[in-house]
């Protein structure tokens, strides 16, 4: 757990006097403390960190400086995602970050630079920060720091929802998998996910159909669908497409609802939705 204390506008040496008092009165001495400082006010922070047995890390942001004091010897959670298939690493990292308190850090390593780059994009898209990224011998790594997702201003539409439209069904297993793998990746990045199954796409939602589809590297399709639904995704099956195929609500797997064209159009028209078609 990290405590963030804003000391913006307070000049040296008062900022370090404040920091000394804050660290002295922490409820949990094992807690990491991050001081947000005006540039130049970090003078004296090293002495404060040393006095209390903390390791100091100073980083500069756009309008402020961060002095991060971590109890010396404390370790950061680490995960190695070498060998995992896309989007597995993104999902793994997103799931771990979701459980971390704000300010906590996670080190991710992989033999694949591409995988680390993909994770970096996902971390930043979810509102958290990549504080360090590089290579160490054969391994590539990044250090992610959990942050609160900032609310956008009223003038900007936050595209924090993903609509995945699927019209291929189990006849195209690759597209069927992509639908729910992308949905899981989006969920792990903190996005709200809606899946709209239309045309042959509705066949995926008929009870028993997805259970016969298995990618060699991933769990069975019906299991994947179930995970996505339990993860909070809304899954609709197009009513008209379902009727064409003799599918009613009772034939659908749990968690999938029939919906009409208006719902689909409304979802497509919502500027907060990023739309992906499979």
């Amino acid at each position: 757990m990290a405590k963030t204390v804003s000391a913006l506008g307070i000049k040296a040496p008062n900022a370090s006097i404040l920091a000394d008092n804050v660290v002295k009165h922490l409820d949990d001495p094992a807690e990491t403390v991050v001081f947000l400082l005006s540039p130049g006010a970090e003078e004296g922070m090293e002495a404060v960190a040393g006095k209390h047995g903390y390791t100091l890390e100073i980083t500069s942001a756009e309008n402020h400086t961060e002095a991060r004091m971590t109890p010396t010897g404390s370790t950061m959670e680490e995960i190695d995602v070498s060998g995992d298939f896309c989007p597995g690493p993104v999902i793994t990292v997103g799931t771990i970050l979701a459980t971390l308190p704000v300010g906590e850090r996670l080190k991710v390593t992989s033999t694949s630079a591409d995988s680390i780059a993909d994770i970096a994009a996902a971390v930043e898209s979810s509102g958290s920060k990549v504080v360090k990224q590089g290579a160490d011998g054969e391994k590539h790594y990044l250090i992610a720091e959990k942050a609160e997702k900032q609310e956008s201003s009223q003038a900007v539409v936050a595209r924090d929802r993903v609509l995945i439209a699927q019209s291929n069904g189990i006849g195209n297993a690759e597209r069927a998998y992509a639908t729910f793998l992308f949905a899981k990746a989006a969920q792990s990045m903190g996005k709200e996910v809606t899946v709209f199954l239309l045309m042959d796409g509705v066949s995926m939602a008929r009870q028993g159909n997805a259970a016969v589809v298995k990618h060699p590297a991933f769990d069975r399709l019906d299991h994947l669908m179930d995970e996505v639904i339990r993860g909070g995704a809304t899954v609709y099956a197009c009513e008209m497409s379902a009727k064409f195929r003799g599918i009613g609500q009772a034939d659908l797997v749990d968690g999938v609802r029939l919906a009409g064209a208006a719902t689909y159009i409304q979802l497509l028209s919502d500027p907060a939705n990023a739309v992906v078609n499979f």
């Binding site: 000391a7 506008g9 008062n14 008092n21 804050v22």
Partner: protein
């Protein structure tokens, strides 16, 4: 937890005029203590003064907060744009330049969380665990409180304020966020509208520090009279 004894001792040892004031920021309506009613519309600094001098207890949602700046920094409703960008303070003459005004409001302590209401009561009768205790004191009383807060661990005190948004940002938000006391000299609003006197200053103190402060004040009393 009851602070009746602590409050009584603080009042007696310091010779305070009125009560220390327990302030809590309630996340939801359910978080407001049972039996507490909404206060009449006014300002945060006035709610503190009413609890301090009249023994008033109650809570204020965004609707009851007439000073939207005070409510805004405490996370009870949005901070109005003209305050957030400093333009009001620039126009009022607090700052020579718009940049100076902006720098000041940007550095002002502001709650990063949203709250439903602020709750007030004299500390001795508070039926809730306060987030901060606000004490309006004379400079001599503030000196004793400062000495008492350093008594256990030593060091120095760093108080910071900017002459605007004092009892809300400096004495409540800063103290909750940092977990250490802060002293402020008030602002035009608190002095003019809420009757903070010429010879009074304001301190925000984390409740967890009160026992140590009282203990130190007793020692000072014994040694210094």
């Amino acid at each position: 937890m009851s602070y009746e004894t602590t409050a009584t001792e603080l009042i007696e040892l310091l010779g305070l005029k009125g009560s220390p004031v327990a302030v809590k920021l309630a996340k939801t309506a359910d978080d407001v203590p049972a039996g507490y009613a909404k206060v009449e519309k006014s300002r945060h600094c006035q709610f503190v003064q009413d609890a301090r001098l009249k023994g008033a207890a109650g809570y204020a949602t965004a609707d009851e907060h007439q000073c939207k700046g005070g409510a805004g920094v405490m996370g009870i409703g949005p901070l109005p744009e003209h305050l957030a960008n400093g333009s009001t303070y620039h126009k009022l003459g607090n700052f020579k330049t718009a940049e100076g005004a902006l720098e000041t409001v940007a550095a002002m302590p502001k709650s990063t969380e949203k709250f439903y209401a602020s709750v007030y009561a004299p500390l001795e009768t508070a039926a809730f665990e306060p987030d901060v205790v606000v004490i309006v004191a004379t400079p001599r009383q503030a000196l004793r409180l400062t000495q008492a807060s350093l008594h256990a661990h030593g060091g120095r005190v760093s108080s910071d304020y900017s002459g605007i948004q004092s009892i809300c940002a400096d004495a409540v938000v800063a103290v909750i966020q940092r977990g250490v006391p802060n002293m402020t000299l008030g602002c035009n609003g608190s002095r003019k509208n809420s009757g903070i006197a010429e010879d009074e200053v304001i301190l925000g103190i984390p409740p967890a520090h009160l026992d140590g402060i009282v203990e130190a004040l007793k020692i000072f009393k014994e040694k210094w009279g």
